[in-house]
Symmetry: C6
Subunit: 274 residues, 6 copies
């Protein structure tokens, strides 16, 4: 643990070794491939836990590209993305950040929840997302020309009420965009059954519950239950927890702290498992 | 004290050597075990001093896992959790933070009062809390795959009036949740008697006082007396302090500075020790 | 990757090796050349994606000057622009920032989206933009006299509604200014056809769509579709995507998240491809 | 002055070599001793200059414990309290902060004006103030178990009008609390006479003045005159200053800048020395 | 570029080698000389681009003093002005900042746009601007007595509407002040003709335009056209640009982005070149 | 300039070699001496430029003590005052800050404009200003006992309208205080005549002007003319400037930028030199 790992394939850790399971819900695979063919940057919009990250993993596998993922947040700086000088036993040494690594060696770089990042994180990618496809590394006087295989993908959730964070038009207009929603009930039940290894009947009951919670979104609840939550609940049931207790633990209590909303969600559980 | 300690078992300090005493108040032990079996992250909700920390200690003991605890606060950075490069006599050396240590070697990592942390602390755990179970260490270009025994547990208190700090839906939906309250009176009296080594009668009087204070919560008082406070008061009585003076010192004065509320609480002491 | 690159031509990376294609929309080429002849700084105003960056690339090619571009943002400091001391194996070494590099060796320095920068970034260029043409490097006690070929160019978009960021009068009055808009329909269609390699008829339909979206600017939409977006959509069509789907992906969804505006934009797509 | 002092007794500087004079005003000595017997943390509440610091010094002397005092303020970080790595001629060396020093070697640690500290300073002491009695030193991967003699004491002044700084309930409920006020007139006069070496008659006149000023607290004046101010005034008189001039210099002008309040206070001086 | 330049005359770079051309508009030269004779600090007030900087250059030439100029901004720290320790191949080395350099060796130090600086930048010059004439360098325990030739000059523009930045009275009262305005029309025309090398007739037309724009100041326009803008426009005309186009490029578009104001300014151009 | 100066008398630079001229306006000299005899900290209140700094210089001379002065400002940290570790050719070395230097070796430490400092700067002096007279240097684990000759003096100006910065009561009550105003007219004229070397008649006219300006304080003007301003104006007149021009330059223009107030002040000049 005493030195930076030296590898011959600098992207080795970011290559996937098995196919991520993904059930398409529309023509998103073809749309993404068309954008990748032109190396156009892609913006994924959609609610929490609906499968955006899994979709990117799936597309990276299909396109045989390594995938470098960054979870964005307020304290992520341009330096974190681009790289910095590190002090070493032999002096200073340049360390590529994840965006530079992807651009230099030809990975797909995925910036998750991009609106959480500070403006400088956003603007640093501007020269990479127009016809120039360059990344200026001012700190080492290098003008990096992106690898021909490099592509940038970002995602965010446009649905929060009263969200004050937004991408600037000058950033948005650099992207092509795909919109995600919750899968159709049948597809969502197939996903839950596949991911948690449960019977279709239970999966269908959980999807019915999710739909009831999603109707409460905007009425006090920020968002309804995600597909991920249903997979959690299904897993608990498979592990021996009673269905209603599993829904309380995996769906109701994580969704809200408000006593009235908890009551409404408990009623939705009762209705779904009546 | 002049160098980092070198240990063969990097989690040795975080192993518990005796069983933490815990009196279950419902089916929280089974619920936690079901979540751990699937390695689902767990969110504990409940008021101050009701036993959340003790519960996690107890579960780590039951599951034979080391427990790495972090008290969250506004100045805790993602770097504090994940790790950083330290300058050493032989150059820079990587130092795992507590979250990385737990993920690498298979401990339960417990982030206490998670809502006090800054957003970047929260988002850094996202890739650890979905099916990927990875922690990207951008600063050393390592994509850490969590140890199979690793689990993440977080807690917070949803009860403060006017609390402006909240977990984002995209974070909440990654967790299964358990809700804690004050124990039922008999159970709470057993806990107080056990922890402070006092007679059941005194413990019951203190529990009665606690219930009176809890009715004042929301009427000027942020929260009623915690079980911990009752243990303090009981200990002072056992050490020779008169019960009313002990309640003033351990319950009334710590709860508030407001003269009217202090009077109301003194009256509750009188009523409980009449 | 272990040391700063050493080059005999310090601006080699910033020289362009082929002519950037640019279709003039007025007398902007002559105006820029007149300003360059006097080395007056130039301010480019205009909406997102209308070709300001391409124009600067074109002018640098015409004037046979290297072009050093900086994307401005809130976290860009004066030190990033001017330079700093770096610690090296042999001690500290001075590293010219991009503005200093351009001023020292005679490039055109282009600060894109200057209003996004912090005030100190703006003020550092004051002594470079009046008759003194000097850049004080306080940190190394050097008063750099700009190379005779050096020129400063900045750009910004004055059109955002409610934009609170503005250049100070004491900065603005140092510049001569050129105003850009969207090209006339015929010119814009020629640009789209040239850039994406598509037929004039498709380009004309896309321009018609853009004009419809631009009428919505200020009515909820921050800005209408840029020429760049049309090039994206045309590229997707050329790659096999149906025109309406391409417009949805490259124009509608990137422009807005508002459901009503999305509907209005879909209608504009229908009207343009009827 | 060129190296950190090396001592065999790391707490030598914090041991008191003579008994601090303290006149008890109630049963605060017994209450503190009862809390110390259980090593319960203690919270001291009371107005400026009423003797809280002297009381802690006195108790540390009685209990034969060294006393490590920290004056809290907004810029005090958790790192200042806990410790940090320092770069040395032989590499980095760990430096215990005052809280760690006290916890490791068994001192009483006194955090004066705790509400002035930032939240992270407060939360760092949480694991030290419940049954765990540990201090996690994340930066050196050490989980410090507190010395059996260690105790934590904090103080603050609850009386400022409109004070927005408060301890969180989750912090308060970890403490037992003692409330301090101004001593009764006879006791206060004895204190003033003892500390300044003046006659009882002068001390009584000064106490009478103090009581007049305390009635103005809340009516424009933040707080009335402290016992410390009376000691100052008495000392000036003993040094030859006329009593009214001494009161102006030591009481009236330090208390306020408001011309009307200064007049009211001057009148109180006249009344007390009529 | 690998080390700090070593010079025998530490102010060599700040000596001017030819006389800066300046046309006096009143008795400002004598007033400045009287202040310099007493080494009183001087405050220059006046609008953007009216010649304050040129005046200081001229006075430094007349008084045979080097001129060290600093453009103030929000991120300029006291450390930037005063100096700091730099790490070198042979250890740390002190580096005088521009204010220290000027005070130590006897230059005129000119802080341009002083109100843009942060308060610490302002207060650091207090001991230099009263009878003490010292600069405490706390970081190296040096109390620098200013060179007998040293003088401090600062400037700012009092005219912005709604400007919230102000010098504190305790700073202002340390200065003697000179007020600048736009030159009288004849003088301004002579300046434009001299600086741009154009005929008096064109210069007079440009001055007439400037006067029209200055009447719009306060009616939406922050400031009217500066003398500098007229020199720019005259230069463009001399370079072959038509007068109206030159005025649009050098005066109208730099002054404002507001469509209505642009129309009003265009009308002023028409009227001036009718 | 390549190393910290080594001196045998660490306070040599802060010793004064001639008596600072000071004309007492009341019994402030005796009051200060009484406080110094008890080593009580002293707080000086009064308007800008009325002589507080000169008074402290005078008292330090009378008491034969070196004087270490610090101008307080928002960016002054506790570390600046107390000291820090510096990296040296031979490793790290401790550097006493000015407060520590004064406390260790027995100087008077004068913190000018204390309310401008941040709270941590204020609180760091608390243990030095009560009976403990210690300064904890947490960063080097030293508890510094102040030299017997050490005294702390602070100053501020209570007169600004709407000033939001205030000393906390817990800080104020540690000081004895002296109040300064403008000297009586005769005394002020003597000071002006002495400091500038002018005739009493001119000095009296300037004092009359000052009194007129002071009546405008609070009516738009923050403060009236200070004694220092009169000395400036007198000096300009002695240097050959006409009295009214000297008053404009040294009094009117530095006092305000408001056109109406400037007119009122010009009228006051006319009245004083009629």
């Amino acid at each position: 643990m005493s030195a930076l790992p030296i590898t011959h394939d600098p992207l080795a850790q970011w290559r996937q070794h098995s196919e991520p399971w993904y059930l398409p819900v529309g023509d998103e695979v073809a749309s993404f491939e068309a954008a990748y063919a032109l190396r156009l940057p892609v913006l994924l919009k959609g609610p929490t836990g609906c499968g955006k990250t899994r979709f990117v993993e799936h597309m990276a596998w299909r396109l045989r590209r390594p995938l470098v993922t960054v979870s964005c947040h307020e304290d992520l700086t341009a330096g974190d993305l681009v790289g910095r000088w590190l002090l070493d036993a032999e002096g200073t040494r340049w360390h590529d950040g994840p965006l530079t690594l992807a651009a230099r060696h030809g990975a797909i770089c995925y910036l998750d929840e991009i609106v959480e990042a500070r403006p400088d994180t956003t603007v640093v990618m501007h020269p990479l997302t127009d016809s120039r496809r360059v990344l200026p590394l001012e700190k080492r006087n290098e003008l990096l020309h992106a690898h021909p295989d490099f592509q940038l993908v970002v995602s965010y959730n446009p649905g929060y009420q009263g969200m004050h964070k937004q991408l600037k038009p000058s950033t948005r207009q650099r992207f092509t965009a795909l919109e995600f929603g919750y899968p159709a009930p049948d597809a969502e039940a197939r996903i839950v059954a596949h991911e948690a290894g449960v019977e279709p009947a239970l999966a269908a009951q959980l999807v019915a519950l999710a739909q009831r919670t999603r109707r409460l979104a905007g009425e006090g609840l920020d968002e309804g239950a995600s597909t991920r939550m249903l997979v959690h609940a299904a897993g608990l049931v498979r592990g021996g927890v009673a269905p209603r207790a599993a829904c309380l633990q995996a769906v109701v209590l994580p969704l809200t702290d408000d006593p009235e909303l908890i009551e409404a969600l408990r009623a939705a559980v009762e209705a779904s498992f009546a």
